[in-house]
Amino acid sequence: MPNDTWPSEWLRAVLPLCVLAAVADEETYGYAVAQRLQAGGLGTVKGGTLYPVLNRLEEEGLVTSSWREGAGGPGRKYFAVTTAGAEHLAARAAAWQSFTERAAGLLPSVRSSR
């Protein structure tokens, strides 16, 4: 399946966790997160989808943000993971792995459906 045609409900479910994972790797800003998600194969995530997710993570205390001067640009908003965010990510990543394995077990395998 091409990268940009994942069903939107799958993306909605996994996006907060993937965004949190990108921020947890290193302090970063919105556009870099979007590039990271695209490089990881999730397709293009537009600003209108990304920033509400980042804002929700911040409201939940999982990330913090601060504005910094950009290189000749108008300034960037950097996001960093909090301790609670790192713990949340570890717990949810493990749960997600278990969930997707179980779901995969219920689906016909690609080989058997051919």
């Binding site: 800003y29 919105g30 556009y31 979007a34 537009k46 600003g47 209108g48 920033y51 509400p52 504005w67 950009g70 640009g73 108008p74 300034g75 960037r76 908003k77």
Partner: protein, 166 residues
């Protein structure tokens, strides 16, 4: 700032205001949009969709008191317009307005303009750009001026109509 971005900023601020988003939050949302499109080279509409739709995602519940205050201020505004229009007609035709001298009706109308003006000033709290700290919405002076211009225009048009129909 490009025309696209400037227009989007204006529309987004207006839409966020209509959804009662807090001023600090409005500044953050606008700055996020502008910073992001400066990096990607997209237009704000390409990256965030129409301003009204993007702002709707931040809508919070509107308290009952705010809704009642809005209705109250609208009623006062209508009463003000009515008294000023009739007061001017009364002055031109030398007739009383609702049993009071036309000048008094005009004065009461002008006084009724004050609560909507104060309400608008409270509603339109300044929004600052978190990157620079600079204000990105009109200040109190501009709000008062725009509302006063409306009142003066209303009075002028009414006076002309009164003269023409006398």
């Amino acid at each position: 700032m490009t025309t696209d971005t400037a227009t989007y900023r204006r529309d987004l601020l207006r839409a966020l205001r209509s959804h009662h988003v807090a001023p600090e939050r409005m500044g953050e949302i606008v700055a996020e949009v502008e910073s992001h499109v400066a990096e990607t080279g997209e237009t704000p509409v390409e990256a965030f969709g129409p301003a009204a739709e993007y702002a709707a995602g931040f809508a919070g519940p509107r308290p009952l008191t705010a809704r009642l205050a809005g209705i109250g201020l609208m009623v006062l505004g209508l009463a003000c317009g009515w008294l000023i229009a009739n007061g001017i007609f009364g002055l031109v035709t030398d007739e009383r307005v609702h049993g009071m001298p036309a000048g008094v009706a005009l004065l009461v109308g002008a006084l009724l303009w004050l609560p909507p003006m104060v309400g608008q000033l409270r509603r339109q709290q300044p929004v600052a750009d978190p990157r620079t700290g600079r204000r990105i919405t009109p200040g109190p002076g501009a709000v008062v001026a725009s509302m006063s211009v409306f009142l003066v225009l209303l009075a002028g048009v009414t006076w002309l109509l009164a003269l023409l129909t006398q």
